[in-house]
């Protein structure tokens, strides 16, 4: 069963006195299966937050529907076992760290007797142990975001929906969050994780959903996405004879001399690298190294190319 199913959702806002229609999200459809970390990528204004708000039932879609664990997003039951961590930490300023966690814990249905141990567990996970009595407003931005994350871990949710959770964090906090996500992923949690920092996607996610201009650009595994940006295979060989260099160049391969006796050969993506490897081997030339060369994820997603237009790949997201 899909843990999350987004079925052709559209959101049109009406702005200004005349009620001008502004389409924030258009016909976005994807679904997540369990136990995967899926990145939700797109530039600012792509419609990521609106989509997440529709998933969480905070905004009503103009068209389409969202179901979580088979239940419609508007229903209260759909949010049982699901946690949401917003981009900005929105807390009640009159509460302390401990009170904030206790309040959230009771809201997710944790019994009063279990609240203490649950508070300790989640604060430890985000390295905020010992700050229970501190007022939320006295915490730094990074600590507030960690508290936000701690609140999201309450009740051992099956699905975590994170809206740019690492936005504005310092490097140690980013490292903490990344390792936390990996740990949660290893525990079999499903994480849907919005960001525009592509490094985080490559480091943490298995699958990716790409949104741009309110429209879906790509769904599939990060590997299949990188495959689309494959530029070719790089071989480093030694002592390449001149006649063979000319042959390879005639075939459309890039051949360049490196310092020393080494030669760099780039086999463009559509060509079969194994065939050229065999050809070199038959001439008694061995490869010193073989490496895939891919377009950086940033150029692939945000560059001027149409390679991602409404494409679906493999993986736990479709």
């Amino acid at each position: 069963m899909d843990i999350l199913n987004v079925d052709k959702i559209t959101k049109i806002y009406r702005r200004g006195f005349k009620g001008t229609r502004v389409t924030a999200v258009q016909d976005v459809a994807f679904s997540l299966t369990e136990n995967h970390i899926t990145g939700f990528v797109g530039p600012n204004g792509a419609g990521k937050t609106t989509t997440i708000k529709m998933i969480m039932g905070l905004v009503r879609p103009t068209a389409g529907r969202v179901t979580m664990m088979g239940k419609p997003a508007e229903s209260t039951a759909s949010r049982a076992g699901v946690s949401y961590v917003s981009e900005q930490p929105y807390f009640y300023k009159h509460l302390t760290v401990g009170e904030t966690i206790d309040f959230s814990a009771r809201l997710v249905g944790i019994k009063r007797a279990a609240v203490d141990s649950e508070r300790k567990r989640v604060l430890e996970a985000v390295e905020l142990t010992g700050r229970e009595k501190a007022k939320v407003r006295s915490l730094s931005k990074g600590q507030q975001q960690r508290l936000n994350m701690a609140s999201g871990l309450l009740g051992d949710p099956k699905l975590l929906i994170l809206d740019e959770p690492m936005s504005g964090l310092d490097p140690p906090s980013r490292r903490l969050f990344r390792s936390l996500f990996k740990k949660l992923g290893d525990e079999g949690k499903t994480i849907f994780f919005s960001t525009h920092v592509l490094e985080d996607i490559e480091a943490v996610c298995r699958d990716v959903v790409v949104l741009d201009g309110g429209k879906l650009r790509f769904t599939g595994s990060v590997a299949s996405l990188l495959e689309k940006g494959a530029l070719g295979t790089e071989l480093v060989v030694s002592s390449l004879p001149d006649n063979l260099t000319a042959d390879l160049r005639a075939d459309g391969l890039e051949v360049s001399r490196s310092p020393g006796d080494e030669t760099l050969i780039l086999i463009p993506a559509p060509k079969n690298p194994a065939a050229y490897q065999r050809k070199l081997y038959e001439q008694g030339i061995f490869c010193l190294s073989i490496q895939k060369r891919t377009m950086p994820l940033e150029s692939l997603l945000y560059g001027a190319n149409d390679g991602l237009a409404n494409t679906a790949g493999d993986g736990g997201v479709s």
């Binding site: 806002y13 708000k53 969480m56 039932g57 905070l58 905004v59 009503r60 209260t76 039951a77 949010r79 049982a80 946690s83 949401y84 917003s86 900005q88 929105y90 807390f91 009640y92 009159h94 509460l95 309040f103 959230s104 009771r106 809201l107 997710v108 249905g109 609140s151």
Partner: protein, 255 residues
Amino acid sequence: MRVIWLVALNTFKETIRNKVLYNILLVAAVVLLLAMSFGDLSVMSRVQVMSDFGLATMSLTGLLLAVFIGVGVLGSEIADKTVYGVLCKPVDRIQFIIGKFSGLFATLALNFLLIALIFITAITLMTGHAPQPEIFYSIFLLMIEMSIIIAAAIMWSCFTTPTLAAIFTLAFYVSGHLNDLITLNADIQNNPILKTILIILHYALPNLEFFNIRTQVVFELPIAPGHITFAAIYGVLYAALLLLFSSILFSRKDL
């Protein structure tokens, strides 16, 4: 019920930690102290002046609390987005509205209790005996009236800005107290359209004068039999209707 209780408790904590509440209580204490000295200047007895001022102070502080804190409890949740932290959990928006209302009503009840303690103690010290029971009926009806105002403040907060919601709540309070005048105006109207509008307004707005038995209490006049019960049922139903309407509006709101 658990969720309503949690939201109500959080709202109660939020409001009692709000400086506005203490300012309102300070105003109430000052007015009551002044009332003690006004007794000698009035044609009424000191006890009558104290009762009148005491009940009027409760009405005023209740209104101030309902408007300044009532509008804020929902309006600021939406503006500050703290509402996300609650509604992204398995919480129904109706539960949230009822919890907010209950928390604010509990603050109001505490506020009334403190003011009542001050002026009832003052009356007891002045007369040497406990005040007449009608004074408690009056406080009870004031609380019912304020529950309507709080529900109205929450309803306006569902679809407009906190400033406008405060203005609308004040207008609602004033027009509720002038409801009898609307009826009188409708009776003498020749224009059928205006007459119809006034009749609709008369029925749509609450008649807040139902909850005002201050004159009867101060001058020890008889209260019509069944008035307290009728006013209480009317008030509770009206507040429930406003909360239902608020819940429908809030359920449809994009946050």
